[in-house]
């Protein structure tokens, strides 16, 4: 035995570093993340990032933080060396980094140069690391702070290099990382530039609403108008930030900025909580925009789950989820009938022109933005033309809001306006680009993609004989009462058009209400309220349905039996690997019990909670609501219209229909004046 040659040996440091690098450094964006985190941890007030070739050629991060002394510098590039962990306590983490892996990992797979100057040193020092080979510190001239330069990333691991995405995609990923980090630190100036990207400069935001200013810088200038502040606390866990209105939604979850104690995370369970919070306010394939920071005692959370620290584990998972869901729901209910301003902007765009101003080069959607830029009146498109024009300075030259603008196609032109005399030839107008698409959905409850190049319901208009009038007409009968109504948020109803849309006048503009969608939502909210009051009737089963499941799933289901029973599903353990379902919600006509139970088990495994039953019950309610609502085509009496508006004002979540589309849009007088070039 002892004569056998030894096959087990210790790996060389170089190899170890490269393996570690594989975990920490997946792509250029991970380098940026590590370096910017270091800069922030070093107390920098300004962090400057320069990239080239999507970060593959060059990443340079310069900060004005504390810097390092010569000895520290030499040690910093060694594995598991860090200044950030006090007394080796992994549970007491106050900095972004702590593992001491970043610099040696980066050094192992690139040409790394670090120049730094600590206040105690007369001059700076520089050290290089090439494919893991460490040089000697040399004197270097620079001001206080640190400059880290990473060149030729992954030159020593060609396999990794091959799996990188395009320069453009990698550059976009870097932007994403910087944005996420910047959101947490409005007190730090971040600038990101390079030949491979459009520059990003986020100046220091000061004052009481510094955070909101930074959020506007990062997420979009229209976000603050379309978000409600969240500030909730429960048992030592705080949730602060902003949650976007349900009508302000995007096609991907990349616009959900979540932080835990200021650390950006992308945690599945937290995303699940968001989904739960917005559950019946939004279509399932749309995602809310939120910026939320969860603050809690560092001992209550484990961020050391994964080297990139994107996942976290909370000691009290249920508490955190409950807080997120509860706080957002409560805030949305408070926001009541509000719909996002982008909806109004989108409406304006529909009035303005056939060619969406969003096509302007400067209004190009940021990376990770997923909706075609050619949809000027996509409901709730945050990158709305008005907003885009408003915040990208270089678009002023071709500001579509100005009729006298240099580009005629983008100016207001009655010939491409939906209000021009003959609606039929619009569809044939080749300049329209995409004919056959009508503007406003004739049947508002059909989920549809955003109609490109829309007008104002030509399809519906075309069906009318010439000379059709308003469906109802309210002349102010009682001036005193009328003034009082006009002062309300949704104004005084003036008329109903096309047997659906209510026009109401407010003090400073007018409002269009989709009567069907609004009434559907009101009915739905009423049904939900009744459900909550009366409880969910349960039909007992003649024979319990036995569903076989893996032991962990069965255990999880049994642990959640109480909550499931409240939602109408009564089950109990049946041996170790099965559960017996005894009662199901009576609302379900046909039910694949086994399928439902397995889906719930998956949800529980995934996020420790399941809103599936509620979702299905709400789906039934929303179908009932749809059938029980005023249809398009029904003429409303003046009193009915006013009653509808007043009820909308009083009902939570009435700003959007069950599919997340707005139930009303507002045009401010200022907007209307701009339409006529009077601004």
């Amino acid at each position: 035995m002892s004569s056998a040659p030894s096959v087990v040996r210790q790996l060389s440091d170089d190899t170890i570093n490269r393996i570690a690098a594989g975990e920490v450094i997946e792509r250029p964006a991970s380098v940026v993340k590590e370096l910017v985190e270091n800069a922030v941890d070093a107390g920098a007030g300004r962090v400057e990032i320069v990239t080239a070739g999507g970060g593959k050629t060059l990443i340079r991060v310069t900060d004005d933080g504390s810097g390092m002394s010569r000895d520290d510098l030499a040690l910093a590039v060694e594995r598991h060396c860090t200044s950030k962990l006090r007394a080796d306590d992994l549970l007491d983490i106050h900095t972004l980094g702590f593992r001491g892996e970043a610099l040696p990992s980066i050094g192992a797979v690139s040409r790394l140069a670090i120049a730094t100057r600590h206040a105690s040193e007369p001059h700076g020092w520089e050290i290089t690391l090439e494919g893991g080979l460490k040089g000697e510190p040399r004197p270097a001239g620079l001001a206080r702070g640190t400059r880290v330069e990473v060149r030729d990333l992954f030159f020593s691991t060609p396999a990794r290099l091959k799996f990188l995405k395009t320069e453009r995609a990698e550059a976009a990923a870097i932007t994403e990382v910087v944005k996420r980090l910047a959101l947490a630190r409005p007190d730090v100036r971040f600038s990101l530039s390079g030949a491979d990207r459009s520059a990003l400069d986020l100046p220091v935001a000061r004052g009481a609403d510094a955070r909101l200013v930074r959020i506007a810088q990062v997420v979009g200038a229209d976000f603050p108008d379309n978000a409600v502040p969240i500030d909730a606390a429960r048992e030592g866990v705080e949730l602060v930030g902003y949650a976007g209105l349900p009508t302000y939604h995007r096609a991907a979850s990349t616009w959900q900025f979540l932080m835990v104690n200021g650390r950006p995370v992308r945690d599945r369970q937290l995303f699940g909580a968001l989904r739960g919070a917005y559950q019946d306010l939004m279509r399932a394939d749309r995602h809310p925009v939120v910026v939320l920071d969860i603050r809690l005692d560092p001992h209550e959370v484990d961020v050391n789950v994964h080297p990139t620290k994107a996942d976290v584990r909370f000691r009290e998972q249920g508490l955190v989820r409950g807080l997120v869901v509860g706080a957002i729901r409560e805030a949305m209910a408070r926001a009541g009938h509000r719909a996002s301003t982008t909806v109004g902007a989108a409406t304006l765009a529909a009035f303005r022109t056939g060619l969406g101003p969003g096509l302007g080069p400067d209004a190009a959607p940021p990376a990770g933005h997923h909706q075609a830029a050619t949809t000027p009146r996509g409901f709730g498109r945050p990158e709305s033309p008005g907003a885009a024009a408003g915040r990208s300075p270089s678009s002023y030259g071709r500001d579509p809001l100005r009729p006298s603008g240099g580009v005629p196609r983008e100016a207001w032109d009655w010939r491409v306006s939906p209000f021009r005399p003959d609606p039929m030839d619009r569809a044939q107008d080749p300049a329209d680009g995409d004919p056959g698409q009508s503007g406003i959905d004739p049947i508002p409850d059909e989920p549809q993609g955003d109609a490109p190049l829309s007008g104002f319901g030509e399809a519906m208009q075309a069906g009318f004989a010439p000379g059709f009038g308003v469906s109802a007409d309210i002349r102010a009968a009682d001036p005193a009462q009328d003034a009082e109504r006009a002062a309300r948020p949704l104004g005084a109803a003036r008329a109903q058009l096309h047997e659906n849309y209510i026009v109401s006048q407010t003090r400073d503009g007018f409002i269009l209400v989709d009567a069907h969608a609004a009434h559907e939502r009101l009915t739905y909210e009423r049904l939900k309220r009744q459900r909550a009051e009366a409880g969910i009737p349960r039909q007992m089963l003649l024979v319990p349905e036995i569903v076989e499941l893996p032991e962990e799933d069965a255990g999880r289901l049994a642990a959640h039996a109480g909550a499931l029973a409240e939602a109408g599903l009564v089950l109990e353990p049946f041996g170790p690997v099965a559960i017996a379902v005894r009662e199901t919600p009576a609302l379900f006509k046909r039910l694949d019990i086994a399928g439902l139970v397995r889906d719930i088990a998956d949800d529980l495994a995934d996020r420790d909670a399941s809103s599936r039953l509620d979702e299905r019950i709400n789906h039934i309610l929303s179908t009932m609501a749809c059938h029980g609502s005023v249809r398009t085509g029904r003429r409303l009496r003046p009193e009915e219209m006013d009653a509808l508006l007043r009820e909308m004002e009083a009902t939570p979540n009435s700003g959007q229909c069950n599919h997340g589309r707005p139930t009303w849009v507002e045009l401010k007088l200022t907007d209307i004046e701009r339409l006529f070039g009077r601004s």
């Binding site: 009423r526 009744q530 009051e533 009366a534 409880g535 009737p537 349960r538 039909q539 007992m540 089963l541 003649l542 024979v543 349905e545 009662e583 919600p585 009576a586 609302l587 379900f588 006509k589 046909r590 039910l591 694949d592 019990i593 086994a594 399928g595 039934i620 009932m624």
Partner: protein
């Protein structure tokens, strides 16, 4: 093929067979009805691959042969032709067209070759017996409402027919359940059914059986194999020559041990007038606006109070005089289910056997035990 038939005969027969044909088919020939002329009759056959119905009618055959044409279309044509018309069906030599002539109406229908037409009748049927159409219809009618439509539990998507030893004699029994309620109807086992396997007859076949029973006095021949059932409905009425033959695949599954859910110890007996009860349930459930509407039964001391509460619109109660001598009891049911069962009861008095609000309730006719129903309560 060239054949002349009377419109009345053809219409009646097409009416029997065309229902089997699905409106939309991915296999074109399944939209067609097979026509075969030979030996003084025209035989019609239609199938959906699970179920096949065939029938023969008298015809003047000038030239024997066979073809297939779209079933729903020829049915609609024949339906709209004048009463009493003589219909001539002749295939053209091109092999692609069937000419249909009646008086001054002429139609040319596209054909598909009959050789492609599927045949379900193959196989040997080991068990044969016959019973009266009335008995068969009763078994089917009493249980059909409880068939499950939930497809993942496919073995509940039909009626379970089997023989069972009960009370010292062999019974032929039909059972259906959807997990919420169960219906069981039975009769003395017909001669020849001993030893037949338990079979599950699918919902669609059940529906066809109900429609094909036209003359309750007639006999229905039943043949059973492991995977199929064939029912022969003897010709009834004037002008009928051939019998209607229905062949169906069976559901390949095991029907659950239903005996366990039929409560034996329910000792609280409630007797109520069936029609009064059904009308009262129907009335009080008006107040409820949604599916799964629950009605609460409060029984005690010779009276039954039905209550429905709808938090949105109000409430309804109705009191009925009943025979009940046990302890008072509150129990909730789905009103739809109560009405379904009340509609099946044959005697004027309905008998409820109750245990407690969380246990199955047994409902049956007064004084006889050929059918019984089990209903699971609701929790409100």
């Amino acid at each position: 093929m060239k054949v002349t038939v009377e419109r009345a005969h053809l219409l009646k027969s097409l009416n029997h067979v065309h229902r089997v044909v699905e409106r939309r088919n991915t296999i074109p020939i399944l939209s067609n009805v097979l026509l075969r002329a030979e030996g003084g009759e025209l035989k019609l056959k239609a199938t959906d691959l699970d179920l096949e119905v065939s029938e023969a009618i008298p015809a003047m055959v000038a030239e024997p042969g066979a073809t297939t044409v779209p079933a729903h279309m020829i049915y609609d044509i024949v339906r709209k032709l004048q009463d009493g018309a003589q219909i001539e069906l002749a295939t053209r030599n091109d092999g692609a067209t069937l000419d249909l002539k009646a008086g001054r109406s002429k139609f040319a229908l596209q054909m598909l070759p009959e050789t492609d037409f599927p045949d379900l009748t193959a196989g040997t049927f080991g068990h044969r017996f016959s019973l009266s159409a009335a008995d068969l219809k009763r078994l089917v009618d009493r249980t059909q409402f409880a068939i499950s439509t939930e497809e993942t539990r496919y073995y509940l998507n039909g009626i379970y027919f089997h023989t069972v030893e009960a009370g010292g004699e062999l019974r032929f029994r039909a059972v259906a359940t959807d997990g919420h309620r169960l219906a069981q109807a039975e009769m003395v086992a017909p001669h020849g059914s001993e030893g037949m396997p338990g079979i599950i007859v699918p919902r669609k076949t059940v529906g066809e059986i109900q429609k094909l029973v036209e003359d309750p006095e007639a006999k229905v021949g039943v043949e059973v194999s492991d995977s199929k059932i064939r029912l022969t409905f003897a010709a009834a009425g004037e002008g009928a020559t051939g019998a209607v033959v229905l062949t169906s695949k069976l559901i390949d599954g095991t029907f659950p041990e239903y005996g366990r859910v039929i409560p034996q110890g329910n000792d609280k007996e409630l007797k109520v007038d069936r029609d009064e009860f059904a009308a009262a349930v129907d009335r009080v459930s008006t107040i409820s606006s949604e599916r799964g509407r629950a009605v609460k039964l409060t029984v005690g001391d010779g009276r039954l109070v039905l209550t429905v509460v709808n938090p949105d619109s109000g409430s309804a109660t109705e009191e009925l005089a009943v025979e009940y001598e046990s302890d008072p009891l509150d129990i909730g049911f789905n009103s739809r289910y109560l009405l379904d069962i009340a509609g099946q009861l044959e005697t004027d008095t309905a008998v409820f056997r109750l245990a407690d609000p969380g246990s199955p309730t047994l409902i049956h006719d007064f004084g006889q035990s050929n059918a019984l129903y089990v209903l699971m309560p609701m929790r409100v």
